[in-house]
Symmetry: C2
Subunit: 301 residues, 2 copies
């Protein structure tokens, strides 16, 4: 116990020496949640708010607004604010390459850009973090600076857990997502009775859940009553520093509208925006919410 | 050449001895196309039209209407009409088990039903065909009775073929679909620049293409101009007698609305409803349409 306290103090001192946490904030409410969590953990925060994506509420923290192509400006701002550790958080829509207004620093990244632009989002965001690392920064994951936002292991909704069939569906769904991982697609799916009803690709989780709701309304799915599980996990080998999957109170709302029975996320590797609100929403909706153990993986980050 | 003619005559005589082709017709226009193709190949046809699914135009052929649960009636009708070869064709929405009105013959299939009901559609339809086989019928694939409806190998649109990047996307998309096959899901996807934009599950190909159109309209996909390929193949090991994937003129329309560059189907294993109209629609829309070689598979049907 004492050793733990010492370690915590040492970490805090180290944090102070390292300067503030640099938070590159994209869309959604997660950047704000992560910033608050980091600050309540005693860390100063300096935010680079991405224009067109970040919630203006992030202005409650020391910040600067940056355009997506302002690479040189980002580096200068981070350095001017003595930032070492950088976290990249929030939803970002991959822009069309030709629509980005780059600044001078793009000259140094052309080969890297060409290498990482093609393919899924993960690949691209990982490239951004590698670039920051090359420039002397230390990219960290949101789960490292805001551990209280990480989905814990076990049942989170005391009043309702997955039954035997639903547990089998969760295992089936996870295997299916794992099979998709090499293609950098599929962070979530909906499964019922070993039948995969929807797989998420570019549309995102909320739109996928709306699709299930629409199919059910149109009687295009033969489901009666409450049925189906949303399974959400990172891809196998996903760089968690780049873009952790996340759920929030909205996800629960959409799952309820889709008539689902529950939600399973991978413990330790999925973020929950406002965890108390997520659990409360699930309890209110009568959905189960469970954190399932990460499958053993070779040297995940 | 003479040997081929003899073989054709022998086949035709054999057909005559075997009685008419039994065509279990579900939704869409394919049942009618297959019936016409079989008849123009000199085969008599007897149709079991599935109530609530089959197009009434199928009544142009000798037929009887049957409910989904009328198993005994189906067997009696097929036998009374001297049917041996049976083909199952057209879209069918998996009904809720409790909503089906079974007849007496269900008593003989309860264990089988319980075994095959869970899981994807393929699994279920395969079970239906195995049952027919047990009852002395000979389930055949639509590709066998209507070979002129099967997508041929090679480029079908003379004015436009896939470029190097699109060819790579087709190969990438096929690998992704193959990875999904063990989960009985994913007959189609849309891919651009090695990024999977949509994967088809329970919604079907048309709704998936409408989704892409919607995402593009909402500027939620960073695609400019004509971009993306629809890749459609059977699942690896799919029982082609049960449910061959199919495209039709509508598919081309939806692909065009989604702003895609083209369509790739697996040659020999995907049906085209009204092939001339499909090709003409693709040419008119400026889309490429290509039949790609089936990957070597262990003893496919």
């Amino acid at each position: 116990m004492a050793a733990q306290m010492d370690a915590a103090n040492a970490a805090s001192e180290a944090d102070h020496e390292r300067g503030p946490l640099g938070l590159i904030a994209a869309g959604g409410r997660l950047p704000l949640d992560v910033a608050k969590a980091a600050r309540s953990g005693g860390r100063r925060v300096f935010v680079l708010a991405v224009k067109g994506h970040a919630d203006p509420a992030i202005e409650a923290f020391p910040h600067a607004w940056v355009g997506i192509g302002q690479i040189g400006r980002c580096l200068s701002l981070l350095r001017a604010n003595s930032v070492k550790d950088v976290v990249l958080i929030g939803g970002i829509q991959k822009p069309h390459l030709l629509s980005i207004r780059f600044d001078w620093a793009v000259l140094g990244i052309v080969p890297r850009l060409l290498r990482t632009w093609r393919g899924g989002d993960d690949h691209l965001l990982s490239g951004v973090l590698d670039y920051l690392e090359d420039k002397g920064f230390n990219p960290v994951g949101a789960h490292q600076v805001a551990p209280e936002l990480v989905a814990p292991l076990g049942l989170l909704t005391p009043s309702r857990g997955p039954n035997t069939g639903e547990k089998a569906d969760i295992a089936f769904g996870r295997k299916c997502l794992t099979a998709l991982s090499p293609f950098d697609v599929g962070q979530a799916l909906v499964v019922h009775d070993r039948r995969v009803l929807a797989i998420e690709a570019a549309e995102g989780t909320d739109r996928m859940l709306k699709r299930i709701a629409g199919l059910r309304k149109a009687k295009a799915l033969a489901l009666k009553g409450i049925a189906g599980v949303l399974v959400k996990t990172p891809k196998a080998g996903q760089d968690l520093r780049a873009d952790m999957p996340a759920i929030g109170p909205d996800t629960v709302e959409h799952a309820k509208t889709a008539g689902l029975a529950g939600i399973a996320v991978e413990a330790g590797r999925v973020l929950m925006a406002d965890p108390q609100a997520v659990v409360a929403a699930a309890e209110k909706a009568g959905l189960f919410l469970v954190g399932v153990a990460a499958e053993p993986e070779e040297g995940g980050r």
